[in-house]
Amino acid sequence: MAEEFKPGCARPTGGPVGEKPKKEVEKEIVIVKKETGMIKVGQKAPDFTAPAFHKDKFVNVKLSDYLGKWVVLCFYPGDFTFV
């Protein structure tokens, strides 16, 4: 039977049950982790494009289009996550 859970501020997620991933896959994950550290202050913010919802429209946002302006970029765990 499905168990009821209390939603917290992190988006509820699941995962595979039972079989562990092959060793080769684990190796790959370790390599990816090495390449994804925190960025440094005083250095360029990595550029990106992303789809967005803005003023009742769906638009594509490109960070470098904001050059010349101050930008506050906020990440959060998910919509409806309470805080």
Binding site: A10, I39, V41, A52, F53, C74, F75
Partner: protein, 139 residues
């Protein structure tokens, strides 16, 4: 202040619309005024170092980026604690002052607009106590 705000999570733009229309609009008149970006798979969050691959979500990372595209500051919180917007505004104001001074000024801890600004240089070495009161931070 002239600051552009951008938000990002792994939710789709459709979910952003639903959240804005069904909840945010009830809390903030007119809803979210800035672009709510979607980062499915966390690729951008990974670039910035705030993607939690175990949970599959981005943590509460906040980056202040100057007009040259340079990251001047960031803060990262775990999901259950919300940010303090007034502290972000304070930091942006301080960074803007430093930038306008072309790096000749510095803001001491707890600085707010109107409070003492320092001009670092050979004449200020060992003299901060003469021009800045530690208690200013509490005011």
């Amino acid at each position: 202040m002239g600051v552009e705000v951008l938000s990002m999570s792994v939710d789709s733009v459709f979910v952003h619309k639903m959240w804005n229309d069904n909840e945010i609009k009830k809390m903030v008149k007119g809803g979210v005024p800035y672009a709510m970006m979607s980062d499915g798979g966390g690729k951008v969050g990974t670039l910035y170092g705030i993607y939690d691959e175990n949970a599959g979500v981005e943590t509460r990372g906040r980056f202040i980026i100057d007009p040259d595209g340079v990251v001047q500051g960031y803060e990262v919180l775990t999901p259950p604690v919300g940010r303090n917007v007034s502290e972000t505004i304070r930091q942006v104001q301080a960074f803007q002052l430093v930038r306008e001074s072309k790096g000749t000024k510095a803001t001491p801890s707890g600085w707010k607009p109107g409070k003492t600004v320092l001009s670092p240089g050979i004449n200020l070495v060992g003299k901060v106590w003469e021009v800045w009161d530690v208690k200013e931070e509490d005011k």
